[in-house]
Each structure stands twice: as C-alpha cells, then as structure tokens.
Subunit: 350 residues, 2 copies
DNA sequence: TTTAGCACTCGAGGGAAAGGAGTGCTAAAG
DNA sequence: CTTTAGCACTCCTTTCCCTCGAGTGCTAAA
C-alpha cells in the first residue's frame, strides 16, 4: 500500500492533535481539521490503512487513533515543521546564558537546569569524560611545616588543587625539588603507571620525601579518575508528573529512578551527530520504552563535547523541544567558543 | 484523663504496627499483640480514650486507629526503644565509609547517598555554608604568555584553583609581585571590599597588571560565594514511591518537587542539636506536612558542621532510621576527625 | 473513489448490592 | 469500678451491571 500525500497529512494531523490533547483522535475531528474537503467516512478508510501500515494504533476498536512509534518516527523525519525559536524565546535563552561562569561541571549542570525550564520536561546534562587524561604539570606550594598545597593541571587544561597534610615535617625548600621530580617522571602518563612508577622510585627516597610525593600522586589519580568519569546532572524530574501518561505510578517510578538514581544509563549521542531523537522502543533502556528522548551536543572549547538531553512522553512536542534544544546547544557552543574561562582556546597570539 | 501505662502500651503497639503494615490497627489485633491478657472490648474502651486525648485518629467510624502526629511525637519521645545498630549494620556502614575521599562537596554528596541506601528513604545532605569566608592566601603560577593559574586558599582551608587567560601577555616574572600585592591587600577581607579595594588600587597599575589582578579577584569572589552558599544534595528520591502513602500523585509530586527542584527548602537543624525528628505538621514546609524528617549533624574537622537528613512518610520507621542515622553521623564525625584527606590521612609508611 | 447511513463495539461513569472489618454500646460478670 | 461478651451498626471496598456516547467498520449508493 502506498503512503499518499493525504495519508501523510492525516498522520500529521493525528500526531499533532495527540501531542496536544493526549487523547485518541477521531475521524470527525480530522475531517474538520483538514478543512472539510473530505468526509469523516473517507478519513476512516484512510485511517484503517494507516493502522494496517503500522503508523497508527488503536487503543481499542471503538476509540480514535494515536500514532505508533513508527508514526512518530515518520512525523519527526518528514512531517514535522522544523520550528525556529521565536525572537522572544531566543532572548530568554540568551539572557539565561549570561550568568557568570564557574567551574566547568557546575556550568554544565546549570545548562541542564536551563534546558529543563525552557522545554518543561526533565533534562539531563553529561560532561565529556575524556578517555586518557594525564597530568601535564604539578605545582607544590608551601603552607606550613605539616602541610602543603598540590596543584595539578591535566592535559585537558583542568586545574585542581588540594591542601595535603603530611605526617613528617616537609621543608619548604624541598618542595621545588619534589615538584621537579613529579614533573619529570609523572607527567603525560596514565593512572596505572603513576602507581608503578612511584613504587619504582620509592627506594631512592627517604620517607620525608616519599610521603608527600605519594600523597600528591594519590591526589592526581583522583583528579584523573574524576576527569575521565562522565558525570550526569539531572533536573526538572518532577515535570514528569505534569504529563498524563505518567499518572500511572509504575511508569513514573521507572523513569524517576532512571532520572535520579541511575542517571548514568541515560542515552548518549552518537559521535558527529548534532542532535538525535529517540522514540519509545527505539530506546535501549527498559524504563525509556514508553518515553522519548531528545539529545543534542555542543562544543566546549576545541576538543571537548558536552551533551544535553530532554526526557518526555512519546507524545512529547518534538517540534518545539527540538527547536529549543538545538538553539540552546548552538548558543552554548558559541558561548564556549568566543568566551573566556575554563578551557583556554588556542587563539590568536599577537 | 490520665495516660496510664496500659494506654501507652497500646499506643506503642498501634504505632509500631501501623509503621509496619501501613493500615489502621484494630482492637482485636492489639489485644492479641498484648498477649491476650485483656479482651478486645477493653482495648476498644482505651482506644476511644486515646482518640479523645488526641493521640490516635480514626480514618472513619468503622476503621481501626492510626497514630496522630501527637501520638507519633509521644512515641518518639518516650515509647520508642532506642535501637542500637547491629554489628552487621555497623559493619556495612563502616565499609561504605571506606571509599576514597575526594573533594569535600562530593564526600558530602556521597554521604547522602549512603544514608539513603542505608535507611531506604530519600536522603539529603547539606554543606556547611560558613558565614564570612575570606581568602587567606593567593598563589599565581605561570603557564604561558597568555595564561596563568590562580590558586586561592580560604580561611576555612579550602583550596581552589583555576586557569585564567589574559588578554595581554603577562611575564612570568611579574607573577610573584602580583601575588605579593594580592596577599598584602586582598586577604582577610570580605567580597564587597575586594571589589572596592581593587578599584582603589586601579590607578596605580598598568593594564597589563590590572587585568590579571582583576581576574584573580573575580575568581576569588566566586570561590568565596561558592563557599558561603550552602549546597544541598539529594538522593534516593524514587524510594518515595515504595511508600503506599505516596501512591497518590498529588502528594508524591509535592515531595518530589521539594527533593529535586527546591532542595534548599529542606529543613535544617537547630544549632547544638545532634539530631532532630520533625513529624508531619511540625514541619514548616507545606510539602512536608504529610511527611516526616529526621536530621542529624556531624562535625567536619574542628569548626565545620555537616547536615544529613532523611525524608519519609509520617509512618516512617523512626527507631531504625534514628539509630542508623545517628550512628552514621557519629561515624562521619570520627572519620573527619582522625582522618585523611581534607584533613589528610596518616597511614603506615613502608 | 467518496459518501451517507447504520449497527456495533467498548470504555467510562454511576449506582446498587454484597462482603467484611471494626466499632460503639449495653448489660452482665468479676 | 473495670472487664467482657454479645450484637447491631457503620462505612469502606469490591463487584457487578447498566447506561451513555464517542467512534468505528461495513454496506450500498452516488
């Protein structure tokens, strides 16, 4: 059977109406929405075809039709009018982005919050999670006899520091030598090697040098681990309850658990794809089989990539969400691009 | 009317049974639970008294009784057997606390997670939020011509650092002088003054010095702000759904919103109180009127105090939660006291 | 191919009735 | 004065049945 233009139009009407009203759409409504050029009986014939072709579903024999995941997919791919964000929306998004910049992670978490409030669904944000982070450089700063500050800069230009207490006194004069040692032997290598290298060097050092060295390495390891792990931030979870399909506790529960306790299982985006829409059963995760996810990526500096996603019912307003999310992601890319702070961009040196 | 020993015993039985079964308790059950020494009719007389006195409630005339908030309060204050955590529970808690320590905030967030999993209710953790944090010390480390690392140590011994990019080249040799300037004029004073002092000093400095100075101050301001703000971490939100009283979406919704989007409104603990139990209407927050909260505090080092709380139905298992939470809080105090990291750890040297 | 007409289906909503847990009261017993 | 057995009563819950109406599918005519 062929998918005629009229069938497509009907599918579009059904989908948009269902997105709006959350109840099955009947032939009479469709006939009217299409301008009354055909009768409801004709529509009914078409509807029967669309069900047979798998684009629509019928909750029960005497109900109207709702889109199947396949129907949504067609809608998203072909039928949906790619919305542009309005000037007002753009203005809102931009003003939300003006906030002051802090640590990378908290910026990313905030981005998630903004998205959630912009689209009115729960949202999540994922930090990059680079593969093999190494330390580019160490600095040790004296504090007092029993403590010093370790500063670690990674090759993805994050800088972390911590106050470390020692058991034996460390002379301030020894610190540069120690830092030198660290910078010579412990840069550019990965965590496992850090440990083994430390062991190899141990015999040559006295306890008063080995201890602070070991503490610094331990700290560096934690920094690297933390930098390699991707963190997920979620917000707006309670928006879920505003959706009629999640009045049913069992469904809401699954999603809530995912959004609060199993964040790491939220879908990520294929490389090189700016945006992706995952409809119902297209999701791998069981808890998302009755939901849809829209994910977009943005660039952080030149070589990092952030991810931001929205979770909603299959009936979610794809056109609006997709438009706002992609605009938001693009804005973030721009902001990170032309902006100061976190990752230094290699730009024009005079 | 007098609250006889038998009335108290009945109240205890009712409360504990209701905590367990989540349904009104009838006279027959109580008679049996009390060893059959009295008949259900006697119990019924007592129950009528207890209702009149306000310790019990009757959902409707022909139902059993449930404790009123006043009843819970009496139970918590007098009747409840202060449970001790079992050796096994203690072992579990201790092993959970063995995890490696990282940044203070993430340790605190993790503590929340552990508590939630220990008590099977949602939990939250609040960071201290000291009042007037100042910078104790600045360090500036050269990176390249266009960037340097600012390290800021606050008077509560947190150390934060960030890579800062400059617009004009900064010579590595200038940094110690700059740091000196910072340490002379910008330590021990509060944020507002930082800005004004910077302005006051501005005329004496060339742009190539003023810029990095201003950037460092800006960073320091952010660090202080962040350190003064108290952060709230929540976990285990979805545990709420396991409770029959929150099957009703409208109630669950209020709590969920509180636990996800309005965390800052979660109750805190009065100073000098190690633990507090807030039952139903004793809570200020509207969303908590049908819920109870158990909050405990622990010490972080010598002069900071962390907060950790559990949210559950009024029917929550106070004895168990209180026991585990207070044990956990005490363990945290010990850990922070004698321990590693933040205050770093003294361990055996090879 | 489209349309009007019509019987049919099925869920939602609203009592009515049955079932049952638990009460309150009374009157007798301790 | 307290306790207890007995019993009528209350009221929630569950179940069943009925009605109502939206919407369908099919047929036959345009």
């Amino acid at each position: 059977m062929e998918l005629t233009a009229r069938k497509k139009e009907i599918l579009k009407v059904v989908t948009e109406r269902y997105i709006d009203a959350a109840e099955p759409v009947g032939s009479k409504y469709i006939a009217q929405a299409m301008g009354g050029s055909v009768s409801s009986a004709t529509i009914r014939n078409e509807l029967a075809d669309l069900v047979e072709m798998g684009y629509l579903e019928q909750p029960h024999t005497s109900a109207g039709r709702i889109p199947s995941p396949k129907g949504y997919r067609l809608y998203v791919n072909e039928l949906m009018e790619r919305r542009q964000v309005s000037d007002q929306e753009a203005a809102e998004i931009n003003s939300a982005l003006q906030g002051k910049m802090q640590e990378l992670d908290s910026v990313i978490a905030q981005a998630g919050q903004m998205v959630s409030s912009i689209v009115n669904y729960p949202a999540y944000a994922v930090t990059a999670g680079k593969n093999s982070v190494t330390v580019r450089r160490y600095d040790l700063l004296p504090v007092d006899a029993m403590s010093f500050i370790a500063v670690v800069m990674t090759d993805d230009s994050r800088v972390k520091s911590q106050l470390l207490r020692t058991e034996l006194p460390v002379e301030a004069e020894q610190l540069p030598a120690l830092a030198n040692l660290l910078n010579t032997h412990f840069t550019g290598i990965h965590t496992e090697e850090l440990g083994s290298k430390l062991m190899a060097l141990a015999p040559q050092l006295g306890a008063e040098l080995f201890m602070p060295l070991s503490q610094t390495i331990e700290f560096a390891t934690a920094v690297i681990d933390n930098s390699e792990r991707s963190h997920v931030f979620t917000t707006g979870q309670s928006q879920i309850f505003r959706q009629p399909e999640f009045q049913d506790l069992t469904k809401a529960d699954g999603l809530m658990s995912l959004l609060t306790d199993q964040k790491s299982q939220l879908p990520v985006l294929d490389a090189n794809t700016p945006m992706q829409i995952l409809i119902g059963p297209e999701n791998v995760n069981e808890a998302l089989k009755d939901a849809s996810v829209v994910v977009a990526s943005y660039d952080i500096g030149d070589n990092m990539r952030g991810l931001i996603g929205v979770v909603g019912p299959t009936r979610m307003d794809y056109a609006t969400v997709a438009a706002r999310l992609s605009y938001f992601a693009e804005s973030l890319t721009k902001m990170f691009g032309k902006n100061n702070q976190l990752p230094p961009k290699e730009d024009d040196i005079p």
